[in-house]
Symmetry: C2
Subunit: 200 residues, 2 copies
């Protein structure tokens, strides 16, 4: 913590760590945490195991960093949606973002935060809980946003921001599952539209 910038002594690394992390994220996204072997990961990253361990720690650390990158990249729509002026716009943008992110051509179908690890064996419990916390954090932010909307009169006073946040999150999660099963972008956008027809 004393010196955040360390002088580049020695041979500099011969690969782009950002690019490598991006590739790793895609592999985790497609195959899940347990389903992605180090061979799969390093193969896609274009580096050897040694380089991966030196640069990222271990498999679990790599997944954490990949999840951070996912949050800042494909899942950045969440933060953008939360900043919109009305609760209805927030909900609509969140679901539209989930549909878009889960059906982006060239990217794996679905959501890393869901299919990265839903059920896991002994070794994958930590990551499973990490993802559960990650999803729950998104739901909590939405809850806070909807509570504010009630305070501001944007949502009617009898609206329950807790249940609404859980509802929107549930639909978004369901969209991810549907996308993983092959549903198309248009089909899922129709679902998102239906889900908001009853907005208070």
């Amino acid at each position: 913590m004393s010196d955040v910038r360390k002088p580049p002594i020695g041979r500099p690394r011969g690969f782009d760590a950002d690019e490598a992390l991006q590739r790793a994220m895609v592999v985790f996204w497609e195959q899940g945490y347990e389903g992605a072997s180090l061979t799969d990961l390093t193969g896609a990253m274009g580096i050897t195991k040694t380089s991966m361990y030196a640069a990222f720690g271990n498999k679990e650390d790599l997944f954490r960093k990949a999840l951070d990158r996912y949050a800042d990249g494909p899942a950045a729509y969440v933060a953008r949606a939360l900043a919109l002026p009305t609760a209805r716009e927030v909900a609509a943008a969140l679901l539209a973002g989930a549909v878009a992110a889960s059906t982006t051509p060239g990217c794996p179908a679905g959501c890393l935060g869901v299919q990265g690890s839903l059920a896991a064996g002994e070794g994958g419990r930590t990551v499973r809980d990490l993802l559960a916390d990650w999803r729950d954090q998104g739901r909590t932010h939405l809850h806070d946003r909807f509570r504010r909307a009630v305070d501001e009169g944007d949502l009617p006073p009898d609206a329950d921001p807790r249940v609404l946040a859980r509802y929107v999150t549930t639909v978004a999660n369901g969209i991810a599952v549907q996308a993983a099963g092959g549903a198309s972008r248009d089909e899922l956008q129709e679902v998102a539209d239906v889900a908001l027809r009853n907005w208070p």
Copy 2:
């Protein structure tokens, strides 16, 4: 196929195959297909690997049989819901059933058909596709049921049974993900209620 009943020659098996399959189903439900090792499975089943292979084939066959059992057991609410007289009752029973099955005390949280395998490595693709087909089959049945409801005048003529079926399925899948993340039965039932507030 010529003789469906084969005489019980030789030593009869010393364990209850139904009970063993039930235990295996629970392990798959809790840990997913790839996350459940043969050691986990046979340990919970109370038999050895040899007995398992003799009685069920291999791991993939065991999963198939466990999924069948899941469909006839915890997921039997689907067939019951489809037989209800009105589309609204069908949808409500389906979501309530998903909530109940995903939050049954003493059973793993969530739905085997979802968390059994959403994303998988090389070896788990077959099972992943099997589950995707399984989910899609449920959606198709719901689609048929809603189309019939439109024909019968139970649903308004402008209702789109395809989108409605996809919507209900999506919410049900989302409920499973939420349950896997620790959501309670009451919270999810509230979500199910909200999801049906706009029913046509």
